[in-house]
Symmetry: C2
Subunit: 183 residues, 2 copies
């Protein structure tokens, strides 16, 4: 399915509320649990999402409209949250993300992009030409990707506690679930 | 980390609200999207979660307390939702799940299980002896596993729309993300 605003915007609007419902006030062990060395916990991911609002999603939309393919996007810093989130609470980060996302979506709606605008091209620093439509589609999937990542990181907390059920829980089993059965 | 009620219950309480926030009123294409043939969409998963409340989680707790290892659990029907959900709306299923989960947790709290109770054993029809503590841990991870599954199923809707970004989005890339980078 191709990107369209009527399908995509409701999902982008929901993410801050989903994360608040899932993570707000949750006991600390869930929040600090990672998937292992050099992987992120839920707190890290929320910081990363804030950084995306500030430097990636709408900034790159505006970059494409201003520069087209002439100027590649500035590269995205995937580690910025480790400094930016230091000393802040998860509750603060959830509020900051909600405000930043609301601001992004207000800016997006103000642009009143046409179908032709969605075909405008920018230049990605690594893989070259991309369309505005691909960039906006990526924004949506990036939310889902990190919701998946948060679920998986949290689940590791009870990876051993489930005992013999571990083999049936793909979330703690590197994707190897009950063969042929999506449970 | 071992299962304890103070850590686990807040997560079990949140799941219905998380799913309502994510899925309630979402455009239909997200809800019916699967990961491919013989995999489930978000609607199927919510039906499966309802069936779990009715026939697995608290019923097996009560089974262990009544029968111990003498009587194996009745097997769980992983396909029951295909009949049970037919003709119902997602909104109805979300409400039914929220009510069933609230009822399950009320029954669990009424039992006032002691640490010694958590070590009581039941007999799983496939893999034999399991403890009540392992069963309750599995309830929690099962929620997270299906939140992951819903995210992944939904994401396939834009798997092609993201163009060259696909290679960086593990959610549409069978787990192959940016090597060494959890993004």
């Amino acid at each position: 399915m191709a990107f369209d605003f009527d399908t995509a915007l409701p999902l982008l609007r929901r993410t801050p509320g989903v994360l608040r419902e899932l993570l707000g006030g949750l006991p600390e062990p869930w929040i600090v649990q990672t998937e292992g060395p050099d992987t992120w916990n839920a707190f890290d991911v929320v910081g990363h999402l804030i950084h995306g609002e500030r430097t990636d999603w709408m900034p790159r939309v505006e970059h494409i409209l201003t520069h087209g393919e002439d100027v590649p996007f500035p590269p995205f810093d995937r580690f910025a949250q480790f400094d930016a989130s230091r000393g802040r609470s998860l509750s603060e980060l959830l509020d900051t993300f909600a405000a930043a996302r609301a601001d992004s979506l207000a800016r997006l709606e103000e642009l009143r992009l046409s179908p032709a605008d969605l075909e405008r091209r920018g230049s990605h620093p690594e893989f070259g030409p991309v369309t505005l439509r691909q960039h906006l589609s990526t924004w949506v999937l990036h939310d889902l990707d990190h919701l998946m990542q948060i679920s998986r990181a949290m689940a590791q907390l009870y990876g051993d506690a489930v005992g013999p059920w571990r083999r049936y829980l793909r979330i703690v089993n590197a994707g190897r679930g009950r063969s042929g059965v999506p449970d």
